[in-house]
């Protein structure tokens, strides 16, 4: 009797784990946890009647970025490559022309912005500009602000702005954001074509 029992062993379930593992790995590999990432932006509200007299902004406080339908950049009336845009924008924001910004490291040129609070970047593209280029330009302009905030955070708090936690460091982030407020204004696109 005892012998008989030994002769019929249990079904070997050892390979079941292997099969399950196989399936598991298949799912792990195939399901791309589609991490959605992108550039966050806020659109201005739509107003039927445009503001009649927008508050005047001094010419020196506006940094104009134009993108034409051939994806070429014209920055402050100067032809520029996309790789140079970030640096130019940072120079402009950090210029500190009226010496009111004590944390700025700019050159204080009289033709560039007064202080980061007054500096406005004006972006205008053509209807023929490619979306890829538009995102690249946006990216560079945001990166310019982020880099400046990073520098400021390093000198004031000894850590990087990009690595701060939005919950824990709420107040610090707020303070940094007011030091370098992001002011990117987008004009209605031109329709020159080409």
């Amino acid at each position: 009797m005892a012998r008989n029992k030994r002769a019929i062993p249990e079904i070997n379930a050892g390979s079941m784990a292997d099969i399950a593992f196989l399936l598991l790995i298949f799912y792990l590999v195939t399901t791309t946890m589609d991490t959605d990432k992108g550039i966050n932006r806020k659109l201005p509200p739509f107003d039927e009647e445009l503001i009649q007299d927008p508050p005047p902004i001094k010419e020196r406080n506006i940094f104009t970025v134009l993108v034409n339908s051939n994806d070429q950049l014209l920055v402050e009336d100067e032809y520029l490559e996309i790789g140079q845009l970030r640096e130019k924008a940072m120079e402009f924001i950090d210029n500190n022309g009226d010496r009111s910004c004590d944390y700025c490291k700019g050159y204080g040129m009289s033709i560039s912005s007064d202080n980061p609070d007054k500096a406005v970047i004006s972006l205008q593209n053509d209807r023929g500009t490619s979306y890829g280029m538009y995102v690249k330009v946006q990216n560079e302009l945001i990166a310019a602000y982020q880099d400046l905030r990073d520098e400021y955070a390093e000198s004031e708090y000894g850590r990087s702005y990009r690595e701060m936690d939005s919950d824990e460091d709420q107040d610090i982030i707020k303070e940094i954001k007011t030091s370098y407020p992001q002011k990117i204004s987008e004009a209605e696109p031109l329709n020159i074509g080409g």
């Binding site: 598991l24 959605d36 990432k37 992108g38 932006r41 593209n125 209807r127 979306y131 690249k136 990216n139």
Partner: protein, 164 residues
């Protein structure tokens, strides 16, 4: 001696791994359920633009997608090759965008509505004319939080080369 060895064998049975498949199956089911294959059937080809200053989209339930790009090969006979908008599972025109946003907003609870984000998933070759039109429609529909869906480039220098 031989007898003794046999006894020892019996005293030390193999570790019971019969629960292992259960555990693995549990994991498997978790993954099968958790990975929402919610991705709509893309009818337009979208090759996302590249950017470095990207942020993760939190709370997917509050995100609404708008796709824009040239119709895929199999739809080209019917819809042509020029870039089009896709909302949910079908092609749409600009006039549909506002209604779409409003109907999407209806599905969210009152307190969550201001947090709604519109994610624009457009091909990098799409002309800005179309994107601007979409943006204008979004502004009219009071959907002001938007996100330009982009990819982190594997090689940052590639961002500055004149191609793509």
């Amino acid at each position: 001696m031989a007898v003794l060895k046999k006894k020892k064998d019996k005293a030390l049975p193999a570790m019971n791994t019969s629960a292992l498949p259960d555990i693995v199956f549990m994991l498997l089911f978790f993954f099968m359920v958790a990975t929402v294959m919610r991705e709509v059937d893309l009818k337009v080809a979208v090759n996302k633009p590249q950017a470095t200053e990207i942020q993760k989209l939190e709370r997917k339930s509050l995100v609404t997608y708008i796709y824009a790009g040239a119709p895929r090969q199999k739809y080209q006979d019917k819809f042509g090759k020029s870039p089009r908008i896709q909302l949910n599972d079908s092609f749409a025109t600009l006039d549909d965008v506002q209604a779409f946003v409003i109907s999407e907003r209806e599905t969210k609870s009152e307190e969550e509505r201001p947090l709604m984000t519109m994610s624009i998933k457009a091909d990098r070759t799409v002309k800005m004319g179309l994107i601007s039109d979409i943006k204008l429609q979004l502004r009219k529909a009071q959907a002001l939080k938007i996100n330009y869906s982009s990819l982190q480039p594997k090689n940052v220098d590639a961002l500055y080369s004149s191609e793509n």
